[in-house]
Homo-oligomer: 491 residues x 2
């Protein structure tokens, strides 16, 4: 018996997915285990496996199989949709352009890191201009006459458009700015003044991961410079970091990455090593990490349990009550750095990057004017002047990697998390009772059932619509922020 086109296609794709997992594992190794002296050799190894992957993703047999393969059910149809999209994107980009992009962005990261360390914007701008020029070429090849920025964003959030996201951001900004102003008028919670040892932080991190349903049989938690989650299926690894004066950095980085990892671990095992076997988009991925971290992990019910845990583990660390602890965990303060921002400020950071990078890709903003544009916008939105480039446009790695169109998915994830949280609360009326006992199983079980298990089966917006019984909207997130922070700060 000979295999039909669909089965041949899926067998070929399965090997590609397995090779992509290997590439991801090398990335993990590089950030956690690799000896320092191996960096150059690793570069060649990564280039070799990426070459293999690119050849497979543009293999002409894919076109033949896709032409004749027939989907027998909705799962098969979704598999074909993913492979078709990936093949179209891979083949539209000329090989020479892909190679130039790979080479330039690989160098650009090093140049960016040095410029950030020496606070010299001018050292980075020529390279950034080159990256943007190549990304515009790539976008033109992908867009085939459509919007350039949409074409780039489609890689991270299929189906999203800059126009609709821009409109949503415009609706969100006034309410966030209003809430922010009201909160900053209140007395801030006290600062922690205690030393939290690395080993005890890592022990509690492991326990928190387990509390949120992370399966250590199919994963592991290590230290790294930047927290991240990597891998799919039965091998999903996470990292966290430790700052001995600020334990929440470690604990909430862990819970955030556990959200990403539980999404991957929660996908239907039937989808393992297929295009459906991974999170469907960056926005939906971020919805899981953010709802684990914020709506669940920073809820006063859950922080009540955490407070008692920390007293047991670290002794008296100078916080008087669970109420004060909840305010410290949910501290609102203006700051330069996106990754350290609280729930209220975070989206303002994202919106600013979204507007700037859209203008860069459109050609409305020249790289030479970027620093001024960044600093003006920051002062307007945050009421503080940027004091140095590492606190300004040199803070994020994304642009040096060519990640244009990625930033908006962070806020989209928050918006999706807001929708999911509203639906979750409606379905689980006694959720706070459970969280106050450190029991997240009903909440994480609901998310696994409604979102995670489907993997790539539905389009991103459809995942949220099906889970919540309503089209995604920013309203639940904004209502949640008003209610939560209003109560915490006694507005």
């Amino acid at each position: 018996m000979t295999m039909g086109a669909f089965d041949q296609l899926m067998a070929f794709q399965r090997e590609t997915e397995a090779l992509a997992q290997i590439s991801g594992r090398l990335g993990w190794d590089q950030e956690t285990m690799m000896p320092r002296g191996a960096a150059e050799q690793r570069g060649e190894e990564m280039a070799a496996i990426e070459g293999v992957l690119h050849a497979r993703r543009t293999d002409p047999r894919l076109a033949e199989w896709l032409d004749t393969a027939e989907a027998e059910d909705t799962v098969a149809a979704a598999q074909l949709r993913h492979i078709r999209r990936s093949y179209a994107r891979a083949t539209r980009i000329p090989a020479a352009l892909a190679q130039r992009l790979a080479r330039v962005t690989s160098t650009a990261q090093g140049i960016w890191a040095e410029a950030r360390a020496s606070e010299k914007v001018a050292d980075f701008l020529p390279t950034l201009a080159e990256v943007i020029e190549l990304k515009r070429e790539e976008a033109a090849a992908l867009a085939q006459g459509g919007d350039l920025y949409d074409a780039l964003m489609d890689d991270y959030e299929p189906g999203a458009t800059a126009a609709s996201i821009g409109a949503m951001f415009d609706r969100m900004r006034p309410r966030l700015v209003r809430l922010r102003a009201a909160l900053l008028e209140q007395a801030p919670p006290p600062k922690l003044d205690h030393h939290f040892g690395q080993e005890a932080q890592m022990r509690f991190s492991r326990d928190l991961a387990a509390v949120f349903g992370y399966d250590f049989l199919r994963g592991r938690l290590d230290l790294a410079v930047h927290p991240f989650s990597s891998g799919a299926g039965t091998d999903v690894r996470i990292t966290t970091r430790v700052v001995e004066t600020d334990p929440f950095n470690c604990f909430y980085s862990t819970i955030h990455e556990v959200g990403h990892a539980c999404y991957e671990q929660g996908i239907d095992p039937d989808y393992l090593l297929t295009p459906l076997g991974g999170g469907v988009s960056m926005g939906v991925h971020e919805s899981q990490s953010r709802i684990y971290e914020n709506q669940i992990g920073r809820s006063p019910a859950f922080t009540g349990w955490m407070f008692r845990q920390m007293l047991d583990r670290f002794g008296d660390f100078g916080v008087a009550s669970p109420e004060e602890f909840a305010r410290i965990v949910n501290r609102v303060q203006p700051g330069f750095i996106r990754t350290e921002a609280d729930e209220v400020h975070y989206n303002l950071h994202v919106m600013m990057r979204f507007d700037l990078e859209r203008a860069l890709i459109k050609g409305d903003l020249a790289v030479a004017d970027l620093e001024a544009a960044w600093n003006d916008r920051f002062e307007a939105d945050f009421g503080v002047a940027v004091d140095r480039p590492a606190h300004g446009l040199l803070q994020d790695v994304h642009w040096s990697c060519g990640l244009f169109g990625y930033f908006p998915t962070y806020t989209l994830g928050n918006v999706y998390a807001g929708c999911l949280h509203q639906a979750l609360r409606a379905d689980l009326p006694d959720l706070d009772d459970q969280l106050s006992r450190g029991d997240t199983s009903a909440a994480t079980g609901w998310l696994r059932e409604k979102v995670q298990r489907h993997g790539g089966l539905h389009e991103p917006r459809a995942v949220i619509t099906l889970a919540c019984g309503m089209e995604p909207s920013e309203a639940p997130l904004l209502d949640y922020l008003d209610a939560k922070f209003g109560a915490l700060y006694g507005l």
Copy 2:
């Protein structure tokens, strides 16, 4: 300008070598870091990368390039020799046979492990028979009319023949049996009765690795069930294990793996990611691990330094003098297990396996008769009856993996180490002074210069001949064993 055939071939080969490094790193990950639940997925990932490697190693373009490529110097000629040999071996084995072998040996390892745990030889024999049948087929495809066992051994020790190794083993056996008998008549050294904590053992292991010249900038040391070394070039990782009642298990496993790793780390950096960029054969590899471990690491001069180190690190552990310590480190006792054998017994284990597996491959010994043959031979050579299968023919993993022709390289490594040690002593008359201060740099520097830096440049026997100024022979090893153990045991 278009590239000539040689340059095209080398560019293609370089990517293959990089992909082979990735495959090796996955193997390391599997033994050290991989979550338990990921085993099945990892099997698919390994199969996918092995498929890529096999396709590249049998790529028809290799034949074209090899036909026209011209070597401009001896280095280029050696590169071509390696690629030619690898291509010939890879293309001679029918794809269907290679796949069956991969599938059967992968299952066989699990069956072997279970049979060993339950001490049931009969559970393993049918699978072993299948493996042997396939290996005989493979050998016939490779040998093209020549000796089957030679064809298998050629994968591990190019150029070696069973006839010459068998003749050498026959010359060695009587002297080893005689030495063994004389030593067993002497009073054994006392047994250690002390607890050596895991952390302190690992700390000393790391220091020992550094003492022997292992470069942690291009490697790392972790715990694993079985000690091993993996990787080439700038990323050569080693593992060790800890038994808290027997610190020498950890320390000498470490030194042994450091020997393997220093060989890889010591190769001329110009050979990185080329066929010359790895150890040239299993026998030469084992010569490095064994000379680090035994001729240097277990020399009374070096153990004198180790004794003082251990007193500093572990306090009084019940050993009275450096002389007694040297006897304990060099304890000679009969035992069932090859990997735990002392220098005198070790080669007797290897010779026995060599004779048995030669007979299996030739067809002179049926799998049904293997246990009796093993047990008879063991009692004849070691004077003790095998008490259970895990102490007998179920002890080694090799046959379940299809590694026939591998065992003799262990003793070949010892013989090579004997030759190198004789030459090393002649060139470094004050070596014992250095070793007694814990300074191995002259000895390891000599080995790097004479052996390690050449990588795959010369044929295996030529490496030893060039380093020692004489054809390899078993005599230096036997003389060394007589002299060292005679002195230690007062014969």
